[in-house]
Symmetry: C7
């Protein structure tokens, strides 16, 4: 039986795009996640309607997330 | 006794439309779900009032969801 | 002793109107509900201030709901 | 020792006014309540800044409620 | 060791002012409270930027509350 | 091992400034706190963009709080 | 197996930037965190679109946080 969080398990050390509730998007390399969908991303970059900022390593709190998509 | 989540059980590997609280809609093939209604969708596409974007595989966090409807 | 969710128990296979927090309303035939007030509706139709759309079968997430009223 | 929910216990089968977070108000006869302050109201009527609509029997989800006041 | 809810314990049968998240304020005599900070107020009166309305007895749901202050 | 709530433990009977989600700020003397970060403040004063009001003793519900800072 | 909160563990006594849901940003030295991602920061400074204010020591409530990034 597969589970939704398997999408994250198979994206370990790969680049993902995260859509936030604020409308911003964060791209980064997925290093770790937990059951709250808190994420550790490396080489992260956040982009909103106005600009794009390099953040490096981030802990992203799961309750801000709409969806996570592995980069194609 | 039937339960609401049976709607998802019977939609396995089928196309569903998801309405989000933000007003956006996501269409995709349902691969997995859990008790929080987190969803794993394949071949997903998100559409808001402005545009339509192909996302591929996504993990959608359940707390963003208004409703899920299997494609007719 | 009666409980609020008895309103749903007595509406099984009957038409209900659901008011959502977004201001939209959904009408449909109630097939199942759970303790989170997640609903399975058949022949559902959603209506907001702008238009009315047929959805067919839907799983409606309980945390979007203001009230549920059996059709008179 | 009295508890806040005793206000509801003493309003059984009596008319109450409910103020919602949306700003709307619902009047109806209180038939049942639970620990989440979900309410079953009969002969309910909802009124917002624009109009007043008869709803009949309703299940009102507790998390929408600001306050409940027995009709004087 | 004192606890924040002692402010309510020492205000039993006394007048309190409650600030709500909506910006409205409710004044009333505190009859009972519970661990969710649900309140039973008597002789309550609600005031927002537009008007002031007498409510009498009310059950106020704790999650709407910003702060509670005993009347000086 | 230190914990975030130690900031409150070391501010007992001292003046703190609290930033609320609404944008308002409350200053007062910290008398007690609990694990929800509910606060009992004495000699409290609330200030928003429009005015400053003395409140005296208050119970502040933790879920309204952004941050708490001991007065320097 | 690594976990997202390891980002915080490795930032002890180091400077971090915190993005809040309100759009404000707080910079400070991380002294402690807990499982709710409540943070104790020293030498904190908050910056929103209008101005920048020194706060000194703060307890930041975790539910306001979007992301935390160690300063590069």
């Amino acid at each position: 039986m597969q589970r939704p969080l398997d999408v994250l398990g198979s994206s370990h050390d790969k680049k993902v795009i995260v859509h936030l509730k604020s409308g911003a998007k964060i791209a980064g390399t997925l290093r770790a996640f937990d059951s709250h969908i808190n994420l550790w991303l490396d080489d992260a970059e956040i982009e909103d309607s106005e600009n794009k900022v390099k953040l490096g390593k981030v802990l992203l709190r799961g309750d801000n997330i709409v969806l996570i998509s592995p980069e194609k």
